[in-house]
Subunit: 258 residues, 2 copies
């Protein structure tokens, strides 16, 4: 595993056979030694879940060509990153890339996203990390533009040593290359999902529920990821995982005599 | 459901039969109309996972006395909050309480915690929300102190209208009441888990892995939740879910010509 070329850990949440992870590996394989550790089944919406009560399995697979070590794992995207570091790489990779996710992970979606949680897990370990998502949910999506974006952005982050340990959420709009306006550094838009569970009855007359919902952007700012994507920019949100609300902390320290 | 008393939604991640959620309901039932919607099995470490590919079930149960409506749900803690709002309460509760978790959710544990993710989900909906955790993992933990803390803190938050929509991560040390020094408003300590997967072989000779790890606090600050707990304080971290790294955003806007 020791090499002068950077070691690039690649994972995702759509599973190791998804076109998005193959597009990502193709786009960055010239930039270093790629090692893939990804789930053996779809793990969308898994957030930062880890597997505690069940043991994990890993199988070596040849899905990306003979020159790329690849493992499918029975766990969540976060489990994949943990296993990769402890049991496969036996070292800290130079960068972790997650995706390319089939579907948007902008705004509040970052919280539910297995793609971004895998990238965040790596960043907690001090590893520079990027999650990539295309707004095209289709499994037959055209990855021409997302691949170019993944290559350019990864190269730039690898070359800029001041970005060591940084974490990025990159979303790519569905537009032909000639209409893409460039990359925007953004903040996470204030948004949420209005739940609307689809209530049905099974053949035995018992109720069951499918989660559905409507996305609601509550943010009119022009510096958000949602705005950038609506205006044909690639959105790049630098991400952190200190969830402290410092403003409220300060207020309460003044107001409450505890 | 309409009532002049506040509506208190209670959930957890240890499952609806866990002593911790019963302690929580007992401690706050005098403060309003309690409705419980909690998972039907342990969901520790589920983070902000939601259930997409599988439908959800709910069953009404009588586990907290005749005066408390309670539902067990087949989904994750976040699913419970979503279902509670859309299918049970048909309104926004006045407050959402999650826990009392059997085990610490301080520092980086907030990211993996089903308890805190349930509370965060409610906060995304604009609901004032508190996650409670005791540092005692034992299912036979003594809840005398945690119950008093849950009652006092919930009452205070309900009474302070300026805290509407706020989100708190409350951890309670394992000390007799006379040694408890009080409550500290804290920030999330910088910490991580050093993974150490336990590698075994099944009866067929195939490898499998159990996730284990060692907690590593990298933060010497005296304003952190870890410090507070080590010094016999209840730690209260005000929490937010905008994950934007504003410092890096500003730097990149200056440095990068995109």
């Amino acid at each position: 595993m020791r090499d002068t070329k950077p070691v690039i850990l690649v994972t995702n949440d759509d599973d190791i056979t998804a076109p998005g992870i193959h597009a990502l590996v193709d786009s960055v394989r010239s930039l270093g030694t790629v090692v893939v550790v990804a789930p053996d089944r779809a793990q969308s919406g898994m957030g930062h879940a880890i597997t505690i009560g069940v043991p994990l399995r890993m199988n070596k697979v040849n899905l990306f060509g003979d020159d790329i070590e690849a493992w499918q794992c029975s766990g969540t995207p976060v489990d994949c990153v943990k296993l990769a570091r402890d049991k496969i790489l036996h070292r800290v990779p130079d960068i972790c890339l997650s995706g390319i996710n089939h579907g948007a992970n902008h705004s509040i979606n970052i919280i539910y996203s297995g793609t971004m949680s895998a990238a965040t897990e790596a960043a907690i370990e001090g590893i520079t990390s990027i999650g990539f998502s295309t707004l095209d949910y289709n499994f037959e999506a055209d990855f021409t533009v997302p691949k170019k974006v993944a290559y350019k952005f990864t190269k730039r982050v690898l070359e800029d040593k001041t970005l060591h340990g940084a974490l990025f959420n990159v979303n790519i709009p569905v537009v032909p290359e000639e209409h893409l306006k460039g990359i925007r550094i953004c903040r996470q838009a204030k948004a949420k999902w209005d739940e609307d569970f689809d209530e049905r009855r099974d053949p035995h007359g018992e109720k069951y529920y499918w989660l559905t919902g409507n996305f609601k952007n509550m943010d009119e700012g022009e510096d958000t990821d949602v705005w950038a994507l609506e205006n044909n920019y690639v959105s790049v949100v630098p991400v952190q995982f200190d969830l402290t609300n410092y403003k409220l902390k300060k207020e309460l320290e003044k107001r409450w005599k505890l």
